[in-house]
């Protein structure tokens, strides 16, 4: 029995890596927003759900492949995020971080229930022509969608890292994250940078939503599943750390998949909440985070 489970480990780990890359992308948006704006976006899951619906309708109505839809949904996510921060959250938040948490909670309630009203509560899935084709690794079949999602997620993480380190915009964002008053003094439009950062964070969700759709389902509450996961990854990797989010995503993806093998599907979910609680209690700065 034990050996049987053990022999499933490599497959579990690779499956976990595939999901972990998408988790990382979701968490990346959250950690970026936290790192620069020092706010927690509780509506992150609801926004991911919206992105998935957008990809879903693009596929159903215009017959656009979800992986191509990345090119549409990601910019749409940026515009949505920029707008909602610049003329919404940013204006309404009166400073205390709990207020932002509650405002974004209100936002998530609005988004979720609007989806319920307009798209109904039915679970939607799509199937692509190549959904059931797979690479044969000998001990495991890896479906094309999973592999494409994995590679694309990594590519987007790399792009984001390049944006943050190599461009002037990235420099401005990092400057604002470190010292917002100082950044203001040297002529950086801080409010604009905040909104851009929020926009980039939501754009990550746009991409993640497109990649999740072929391998998951969407309904108005799909986002909830990913919220706790994303928060766990972010605290695990350290709030604001891009590399941390990536590694955290892999760790959580593997934990979930291997935990599911050992403890069963239902109890396997305990692992994520448990990691979240333990990290917050014993090492709130995360594994890769510097001191807050």
């Amino acid at each position: 029995m034990f050996l049987e489970v053990l022999s499933l480990f490599p497959a579990g780990i690779i499956n976990g890596l595939m999901f972990g890359a998408i988790y990382a992308l979701v968490a990346l948006g959250l950690t970026l927003i936290y790192g620069v704006l020092h706010i927690i976006n509780f509506a992150h899951g609801a926004m991911l759900m919206l992105a998935m619906y957008m990809a879903y309708f693009l596929f159903k109505i215009l017959n656009i492949d979800p992986y191509v839809a990345i090119l549409i949904v990601t910019p749409a996510g940026f515009v949505f995020g920029y707008t909602i921060y610049r003329w919404g959250i940013g204006k309404l938040s009166g400073g205390r971080d709990q207020n932002i948490l509650l405002i974004t909670l209100g936002l998530s309630i609005i988004l979720e229930n609007s989806a319920l009203v307009f798209f109904t509560g039915d679970q939607q899935t799509i199937s692509l022509a190549y959904s059931y084709e797979a690479f044969d690794l000998g001990f495991l079949y890896l479906s094309y969608p999973k592999v494409i999602s994995f590679v694309a997620s990594l590519a987007i993480c790399l792009l984001l890292w390049m944006l943050m380190t190599l461009t002037d915009l990235g420099k401005a964002i990092r400057a604002v994250a470190k010292q917002r008053e100082g950044a203001r003094l040297v002529g950086i439009d801080v409010e604009h940078v905040f909104a851009v950062t929020f926009g980039i964070g939501v754009a990550c969700l746009g991409a993640a939503g497109c990649m999740l759709l072929p391998i998951f389902y969407v309904d108005p509450y799909t986002g909830n599943i990913f919220v706790i996961v994303a928060f766990t990854i972010v605290v695990l990797g350290g709030m604001g750390s891009i590399v941390g989010a990536l590694l955290g995503g892999f760790i959580i993806g593997i934990t979930e998949s291997v935990g599911g093998l050992i403890l069963g599907e239902s109890l396997g979910q305990v692992g994520i909440s448990l990691i979240f609680i333990l990290i917050l209690i014993f090492r709130p700065t995360g594994i890769f985070g510097s001191k807050v």
Binding site: I40, L92, S93, G94, R96, D97, Q98, N99, L101, L102, I103, L105, G106, L107, S108, I109, I110, E112, N113, S114, L116, V117, G121, P220, N224, I228, F231, T232, G264, S266, L267, Q269, V270, S273, L274, F276, I277, L280, I281, F282, P284
Partner: protein
Amino acid sequence: MTFSPKTVLLILFGLFSAALAPVVISSKFQLDVLTLIFFTAYIGQSWNILGGYAGQFSFGGVMFFGTGAYTSSILLTSFGVPPIIGIFAAIFMGAFLGLIVGYLSFRSGLRGSYFALITLAFAELLRVLANSVEFTGGGVGLFLTYAPGLHNLQFNSPTGFYYFSLVLLVISLAIAMWLERSRFGAQLVAIRENEDAAEALGIDTLKCKVYAIMIMGGMGGAAGTFYAQKYLYIDPPISYSIALSVEMLLVTIVGGMGTVFGPLVGSFFLHTVNEFARHFIDTPGVSLIVYGFILILIISFLPNGLVGLFRKKRKKKDDNDA
């Protein structure tokens, strides 16, 4: 805060009319709505103790409710313990869970959003556990038998549950009034306003916060028993629903955090909004969209809630009189 004779009279009048309401209201539906309003106000008050007075927002307040519901229901179904005793076990378990969660999170210095999120994670953890272990009935849930009687805390008419909810509500209001007048309550407010300063003044902030979450837990536990005996069925998604965690903070924030009557006012207001919304557009989700907007508006423009609005007006009037 001391109570002026006018306030005392008002409270007595409120109690009196609430006690007589079932005589006047013959509609079962209306009585049920009132019961629900009182119940939500009660559970909102439990959130208010820790969130409103001590300033520690929890996003997982439902964990005490669920644990209480399971405690008394398991005691009843597996051991035949009548819920009138079970409710005290539920209170104890709720408070005990509060002790564990509070001690673990406050000892490691979690504040603000971090505390809110860790309570959410605890609630999720308990939901998954309740779903996976045997003695909670797992995903199937627990069915309770219908056997009206005071010892079962079940009643054959809505009037009985109405009075049950009224008793809970009055107890919660009494706890809040006691907080406003006691040294402990003042310490909680000091922690809310400035935790470091409170610590510097010699307040044992850890102990105060843990006591507050234990009171919240005990109150939530009793709420769980109430729910289980009224609806006779619980399962993990009901017992640890995020929606209830949100509802208890919603009514309190809308009504007014850190006030005695805030949760009650908020509960009345939101249930009225709900009935109106249902009257005009009967689609699930519509009233929640309205709730979301109300929450955002209140946080942004009315941080003291509806009660604060009333107070501000009264203060202005007093100023004019003087």
